[in-house]
Amino acid sequence: MTDTKGTGPVLEAEGVHLSFGSTPALRGADLTVERGEILAVMGPSGSGKSTLLHCLAGILVPDAGEIRFDGRRIDGLGESERSALRRDRFGFVFQFGQLVPELTAEENVALPLLLGGMRRAAAVQRARSWFGRLGLDGLEQRRSGELSGGQAQRVALARGLVAEPEILFTDEPTGALDSLTGEQVMALLVSAAREQGTTVLLVTHDARVAAYADREVVVRDGRVNSYSSPRVGS
């Protein structure tokens, strides 16, 4: 999957508008995400940061503007093409309800590989390799109801990264966790993403989570504000 990587920004939004009914969520959002960077998207509740993530990931289609992945426009693609993109090139970690309760932890992790057409034995074998990396040894056969919040989120993280996506989209990944567990999940997320060169788009309102990123942008009133490193005085 990584052989299709090009040069230049991996993801771009230009003049993106999207309204829900008569309520505008994005009003000309511009964003450039460099390959391999970990970018925090911050902003107050209702600012449009999650909507922007959904547009960039091909989950929502903007009313106007362009979304480019690897230099190619994806906002005009049909649902099946966007679905394939999400399955084959992107990974996702959200705050709640991500694991399929009927499946074991290792089946949950293997799910993106199985959906991508990998044979079951190979998919499960690759899924198992993530349990040691994320401190989940011995939990492979547990179902989501038998995992703590931190364990479940690490399983979700393994599932988001197992197919070696080019971009990991993550929305408040530690929002449901206590401080220490959240920090452990973030440290693992950053280490794993850096190891495999995955670009990470991290939506969060939490400055301590955003501090794990390489840089941050702030979404306000549906637009993206980006700041260069400021000169510090006294």
């Binding site: 107050p44 920090e183 440290a187 950053v190 280490s191 400055a207 301590r208 955003a210 501090a211 794990y212 990123a213 390489d214 941050e216 702030v218 504000n225 700041y227 260069s228 490193s229 400021p230 000169r231 510090v232 005085g233 006294s234």
Partner: protein, 175 residues
């Protein structure tokens, strides 16, 4: 907090007498710790010596001080530079942040941009401390956490202030 720069900020608004400067300073920034008259005049004297303000002729009237102080171009430039710079992202600097925001609002400057710049400076420092946590010992992490929690507290204040800027502007400019 920098008294000379704060007085320059008050003079940027309009030329003032020492007494008026003290009154405005105490009202806006004193918070129970009024500025002694001696410090006001000593500071104004140093600012005049350094070419940051000029002192007008003594005006007739009651009281010891009837001189009007006027900010110079050099003083205005120094104030503008200070106002536009983020404060070094260290804990316990809320007073300086507070002063800058009030002065920016009073003078019709872009307080939101200042808060944005400060937010970026705080996050840059938080990134450094987070990296210390990721790569250092547990003792390093403990120290880094102390700084991170204080910086996070400042950031919450910055976000809340940003959300209240319109109301604050009204309150500060109608005093």
């Amino acid at each position: 907090m920098s008294v000379p720069l704060t007085l320059l900020g008050l003079l940027e608004r309009e030329p003032s007498h020492g007494y008026d400067l003290k009154r405005d300073y105490d009202t806006l920034f004193g918070r129970g710790k009024p500025l002694p008259f001696g410090q006001v005049y000593a500071t104004l004297g140093r600012l005049a010596r350094d070419g940051k303000v000029v002192v007008g002729e003594a005006e007739p009237g009651d009281g010891p001080d009837r001189k009007r102080y006027v900010i110079t171009d050099a003083g205005a430039t120094e104030f503008e530079t200070w106002l536009g710079e983020p404060v070094a992202a260290e804990p316990h600097l809320q007073t300086v942040l507070f002063t800058k925001v009030v002065l920016a609002l009073m003078l019709g400057r872009d307080a939101e941009r200042y808060l944005d710049t400060q937010r970026a400076a705080h996050l840059a420092r938080m990134r450094e401390l987070t990296e210390v946590k990721r790569t250092g010992s547990l003792v390093d992490a403990l120290l880094a956490d102390h700084g991170l929690f204080h910086l996070e507290s400042d950031l919450r204040w910055i976000d809340l202030t940003a959300a209240r800027l319109d109301a604050l502007r009204t309150e500060v400019t109608t005093r």
